[in-house]
Amino acid sequence: MQTRKKIMQTALAIAFGGVLMVPTQIWSMEAEDAPESVIIDSLANLYTGVEFNHAMHVEYASCQECHHHTTGGAVVNPNCARCHSNSGEADEVTCTGCHEKDRFNKTYLRTLEAPELYHIDKPGLKGAYHLNCISCHETTSGPTGCQDCHTMTLAGEKMFDTGSHTPAKGHSAPGH
């Protein structure tokens, strides 16, 4: 199924590629270079991982809307364009390649103190995923609820006192 879709896409890309090709994009990545789907589960604990349909999202957004300047396309955000208007395709385009998994660990926080560093406010991996997905989903009526994208695990139910861990009716916190 996925292969057929891919073949179709590649065929379409080849058919229209020549027409759409703009000189500035010669050195940039194209949508068909990207994987069909990505499993996002490196942080999965309270929720199950997400199977992200990359191919579907390519139809909704340009590469740089999610990948910033790394795919080599024209940068929209003027703050990024100050340095990255001509920086071309980066060696690393994946989220995990740039966004720290353990965003608040001591060693990483110390690297942010470098006086010349501009990227002092780069979200961690979890923040990057959610900020990117939810902000866009809000404007495009995509799913925004927690469990719309990933179902809660048993560990999650325990954390949120829900599902199989919902307190019995009438049971309330001690005190008062």
Partner: protein, 311 residues
């Protein structure tokens, strides 16, 4: 001529003496008051534009601090409609942090505001506590020691943010319940508090307080129109470790914008400086007056005794 020190003059003299010392002293206290907070103190920058009201922080705090199981699960969003005594939810002995929803007429989506202890640079709770149950640690946390607490609850009145709460269920073993920045379990090892780690949106950013201010300013500067040009907590009550960014004026999202821009301590410092002086200077001063006033009488008495002996 017999000079009588009247009661009125006696007290006048005492007050004048104290006032003189107080004036001399207040210069000293002002010079001493330039504490800008610990340079490496940590903090959290809360970005209200990022919060989606998922309550993950509340759940994480509850587990980390071993607080009682709530009546409603943490994925129950009906709590945002709860109003008690005409107010939105607030911290209590079962919750060190709560998130409240604010419907803003100009926006097509609500804003959410998380409340917890703001960990002031110069905490009013600490100042008000006469048994020194509170400590501001170099890491930035305001922690509390229940072993010395006598349960007077002055800290609850002193706090400009109404954060400390009393555990009424154990009134004979007094205990104030408030966020301690996860000091024991995390902060002292350089780790972020549980709520920050749980936040999916990175609405809570943990870092050195000084770095967070730079970061907050960068966000305001680089996304014009997105934020109100103010970091709440940078200056409020002399600065707090937890600071906030908002897209609407802060009073619209439940913040008290009338808190002083200097530490609460400054409002009471002059008075507090007099208290130890009254206790140490007055007894000596008045004893001296008393001795002076009664000296002549004593001499007279002695002379009379001598005359009687001679007679």
């Amino acid at each position: 001529m017999k000079k009588i020190v009247s009661r009125r003059n006696f007290i006048k003299g005492g007050l004048a003496g104290t006032a003189t010392v107080a004036v001399m002293k207040s210069k000293e206290t002002q010079a001493a008051h330039s504490f800008e907070g610990y340079p490496d103190g940590m903090g959290v920058l809360v970005d209200l534009t990022r919060c989606v009201g998922c309550r993950s922080c509340e759940a994480a705090c509850n587990k980390e601090q071993g607080l009682p199981t709530p009546a409603k699960p943490f994925d129950d969003y009906s709590v945002f409609q709860e109003i008690k005594h005409g107010e939105k939810r607030r911290t209590d002995e079962t919750a060190y942090t709560v998130v409240n929803q604010y419907d803003i007429p100009e926006l097509d989506h609500p804003l959410f505001r998380k409340i917890q202890c703001n960990h002031c640079q110069e905490p009013a709770c600490l100042t008000s506590c006469f048994v020194n149950a509170y400590t501001k640690t170099p890491e930035g946390a305001v922690i509390y020691n229940s072993k010395v607490c006598v349960g007077c609850r002055t800290c609850m009145i002193a706090c400009p943010f109404y954060i400390p709460t009393f555990k009424y269920s154990s009134a004979f073993n007094p205990r104030i319940m408030k966020c301690i920045f996860c000091y024991d379990t995390r902060l002292k090892d350089g780790k972020p508090p549980a709520c920050v780690e749980a936040c999916p949106q990175e609405a809570l950013t943990f870092g050195k307080r000084n770095d967070l201010i730079t970061m907050g300013r960068q966000r305001i500067r680089e996304t014009p129109g997105k934020y109100v040009e103010h970091i709440y907590g940078e200056k409020e009550v002399g600065g707090t470790a937890w600071m906030y960014l908002s897209s609407v004026p802060f009073d619209q999202v439940g913040f008290d914008t009338h808190v002083p821009q200097e530490p609460i301590l400054n409002s009471v410092k002059d008075f507090l400086a007099i208290v130890p002086m009254v206790l140490t200077i007055w007894p000596g001063l008045f004893a001296g007056f008393h001795l002076l006033a009664t000296r002549k009488e004593k001499i007279k008495e002695q002379e009379m005794e001598k005359k009687e002996e001679k007679a």
